[in-house]
C-alpha cells in the first residue's frame, strides 16, 4: 500500500500543472458542494422539502471535486448517497437533481426512486441502489461492455463508504475487476463512521486502503480533506487504470461533519465525541483550499468569495424550479416496470 504524505508532497504534483481557470473552477465546485448540502438541509428543516432524507456531504467536498475533476468526459462514475454534487459535476443539471430530490415528474427517475438512486448512461453516470456495495459489482459490467467494444481506456469511478467495504458484493466486484484488470477506481470515502458505527467495528485493518492488498491492487490512504492530495492521487490512479493495469483503491480519510442524514443531527452528537467533531471542523477542506490558493499568490482575497453568491442563487433557483415543477401522474407508477419497446424481433 502506498501512503501519500499528508503535506501534499507526492511523486508527481499534478495539481501544480493546473491553470488559474482550473483553480477557480475547483474552488467554485467545492462551494457548490457545500452550498448544495447546506441549502437542502435548510429546505428540509424549513419544511420546503417534506419527503425523503437528506444525506449530508459537509466536509467531504474535496473528495467529490478531486476525484471528478481529472476525469475525461467519456469516463464513468457511480455516485452514492453522499455524492449528490457529483451528478452535477458529471453533467446533470441542478434542476434535474432537485427534481429528483423533490420526487418530481421531470426527475431522472420520474419520481420513482429517491435521492441518489438515479443515473444517466449517456452521461456515464451509473445508477446505484440503496444496497450498499452492490454497484461496485455492477460497475464491472459497465466496464465489461467497454472491453467488448474495445474501449479499455474508459475508467469507472465507484464511490463507497468505508462501512460498505464489508459487504459481500464489494468483495465480489473488486475481486472480479482485479482478476480481469478492469479500469475500476474505487474511491472509499472513509468518514470514520457508518451511520453510528465507528470504522474499527467495520474494517479490521489499520487503514481501509489495506483492503487493496487482498486483491493485489494499488491502495492509497490519503487525506481526503486536502483537494490537492485527492487530485494528485486520482491522476496517478487514472494513469494506472487507463494503461490496463487494473483497479485502484483510494481511501480518502475524512469526516462526516453532520449526522448520517438530516434526521440524525441530535443523535450524531451523542454517539460521537463532540471534541472529535470539533477537531474535524478545523480540518474543513474549504478554508484549507482557499488558503492554498491565496498562498499561490495568484489570487486576491476578493476573487475568492465565501460563498460565491451566484452559486447560491443558482441552487436556490433550481430548488424553486423543482418545487414548482409538476408531480408525476399517479398512473405513471405502473410505467417502466417492463420495457416492451424493442428486443424481440421476429
Amino acid at each position: 500500500m502506498r501512503t501519500r504524505r499528508k503535506n501534499g508532497q507526492q511523486t508527481v504534483a499534478y495539481h501544480q500543472r493546473l491553470e488559474k481557470s482550473d483553480l477557480i473552477e475547483i474552488y467554485r465546485r467545492l462551494w457548490f458542494a457545500r452550498l448544495f448540502d447546506e441549502m437542502l438541509y435548510d429546505a428540509k428543516k424549513k419544511g420546503r422539502l417534506r419527503r425523503g432524507n437528506v444525506y449530508g456531504s459537509r466536509g467531504q467536498e474535496a473528495i467529490m471535486v478531486g476525484t471528478t475533476y481529472p476525469l475525461r468526459p467519456d469516463d464513468f462514475v457511480s455516485p452514492i448517497h453522499r455524492d449528490m454534487p457529483v451528478f452535477v459535476f458529471r453533467g446533470m443539471t441542478v434542476e434535474q437533481v432537485m427534481c429528483q430530490v423533490w420526487g418530481k415528474a421531470e426527475a431522472p427517475t420520474r419520481g420513482k426512486d429517491s435521492w441518489s438512486h438515479m443515473g444517466d448512461m449517456n452521461l456515464g453516470i451509473v445508477h446505484s441502489t440503496s444496497m450498499l456495495g452492490s454497484t461496485i459489482a455492477v460497475a464491472c459490467g459497465v466496464l465489461w461492455a467497454q472491453r467488448l467494444d474495445g474501449r479499455r481506456d474508459r475508467v469507472l469511478v465507484a464511490y463507497t463508504g468505508e462501512g460498505a467495504t464489508a459487504t459481500g458484493p464489494f468483495h465480489e466486484g473488486v475481486n472480479f475487476a482485479a482478476v480481469h484488470k478492469l479500469p475500476l477506481i474505487v474511491v472509499v470515502e472513509n468518514n470514520q463512521y457508518a451511520y453510528s458505527t465507528p470504522v474499527e467495528l467495520e474494517v479490521p485493518t489499520k487503514t481501509v486502503a489495506e483492503r487493496a492488498k487482498g486483491y493485489g491492487i494499488p491502495g492509497y490512504s490519503i487525506d481526503g480533506n486536502d483537494f490537492n492530495a485527492v487530485y494528485d492521487t486520482m491522476c496517478e490512479a487514472l494513469a494506472h487504470a487507463r494503461a490496463g493495469n487494473g483497479p485502484v483503491l483510494i481511501e480518502c480519510v475524512t469526516y462526516r461533519l453532520q449526522g448520517h442524514a438530516d434526521h440524525d443531527e441530535t443523535r450524531a452528537r451523542q454517539y460521537r465525541p463532540v471534541e472529535e467533531i470539533e477537531l474535524w471542523e478545523k480540518r474543513d477542506p474549504l478554508p484549507r483550499y482557499r488558503e492554498y490558493l491565496l498562498n499561490t499568490g495568484l489570487f486576491e482575497e476578493s476573487e475568492l468569495p465565501t460563498p460565491p453568491l451566484d452559486i447560491k442563487l443558482q441552487i436556490e433557483q433550481a430548488i424553486a424550479y423543482a418545487i414548482n415543477s409538476p408531480d408525476p401522474e399517479p398512473h405513471t407508477a405502473l410505467e417502466d416496470i417492463y420495457d416492451e419497446s424493442a428486443g424481440v424481433s421476429l
Binding site: K112, M131, Y195, A333
Partner: protein, 328 residues
Amino acid sequence: MREVTFLEAIRLALWEEMERDPNVFLIGEDIGRMGGAFGVTEGFLARFGADRVVDAPISETAIIAVCVGAAAAGKRGVAEMQFMDFISYGFDQVVNVAGTYLYRSGGKTPIPIVVRGPSGGYVGGSLYHSQQFEAWFFHTPGVKVVQPAFPDDAYGLMKASIRDNNPVVFYEHKYLYRRIKGPIPEAHEDYIVKLGSARVRRYGEDITVVTYGAMVHFALDAAQRLEKEGISLEVIDLRTIKPLDMKTILESVRKTSKVLIVYEAPKTGGVGAEISARIAEQAFEWLDAPIMRVAAKDAFVPFAEPLEKYVLPSVDDIVFAARELAAY
C-alpha cells in the same frame, strides 16, 4: 397492563427476553451505540454489554450467519435488518442455511433465530425502504414468518419467536411503530402468543377479511365505514403467516361465505394467493362469491407521494372490494 406503542412493545419483549435468558443476544447494524435506526434497542448496550448487543459491520449475510452458527451452538440470536429490504443480502443464509439446518442435521440441531426489522410502505421510503416480500419466506420450507399488527401481539409474538426453536422472520411494520398504541401485559409475565394462531380482531357476518400487518388497521377502518352501510366485516388478523392458521380462516368463511384477502405486497404471488387457493381447495362449497384480493399493484413502492399512493392498497380499495362482494 401497560399502554405502549407498537415499537415499545417490541423493545420490551426483547429486553425482557434478554433479561430472562442469557443465551439471547442481538446483532445488527447500529443497534448498540445508537440503539438502532428506529430506536428499538435503545439502552440495550449499556445494560447487556457489547457481546450480547453486537454492532455488526454492514454485512447482512454475516449478521444472519452469526445467529445461525451461534444457534447451532445453543444460543438464540436476534438479527436486526436495519430495513427488512436488506434481507435480500442475507437471503441465502435464511433459506439455504438457517431454514434447512434442522433437516440437514437429522433433527439434532434446531436453529432458534429471529430475523427482525422494519418493513412496509406508506412513509415515502421508496424502493429499498418499503418492501414487504414476506412471500419469499412463506414459500420456502423451514422458516416461520410473523407480522403483528397490535402492540400486545407484537409483544407476545416476539417472545414466542425468540423462544421458538426455528428460524423466524419477524416483520415490524414501520408505519405502526409510533402510530399505534395499546395495552400489553406487565413485565416478566410469560405472555406468549402462540405462533400459528390467528385472531379475529372484529366479528362480523357478511364478509371474511383475512389480513395481517398494517392492513389489519386498514381493514378495521374499512369495517367501520361499511358498518354504516349495513355491511358487516369479520376481520381476521393472521399475526403469523407461517404456520398459517387455516382453521380460524375456514371457520369464518363457513359463516360468511365471502372472502376478501388483503395484503400490502404486490398482488401476484403474494401470501394472499395461497390463502385464496387453499380456500378454493378446502371450502369451495361454502363460497357464495369469488374470492377477492386487495393488494399492492405489481410494481415497486415508488418515492413520490402520488405514485406511492397509487401502488399501495388503501382503505378505499378495501371498501370498494367489500361493497362489490356484498352486492354479489
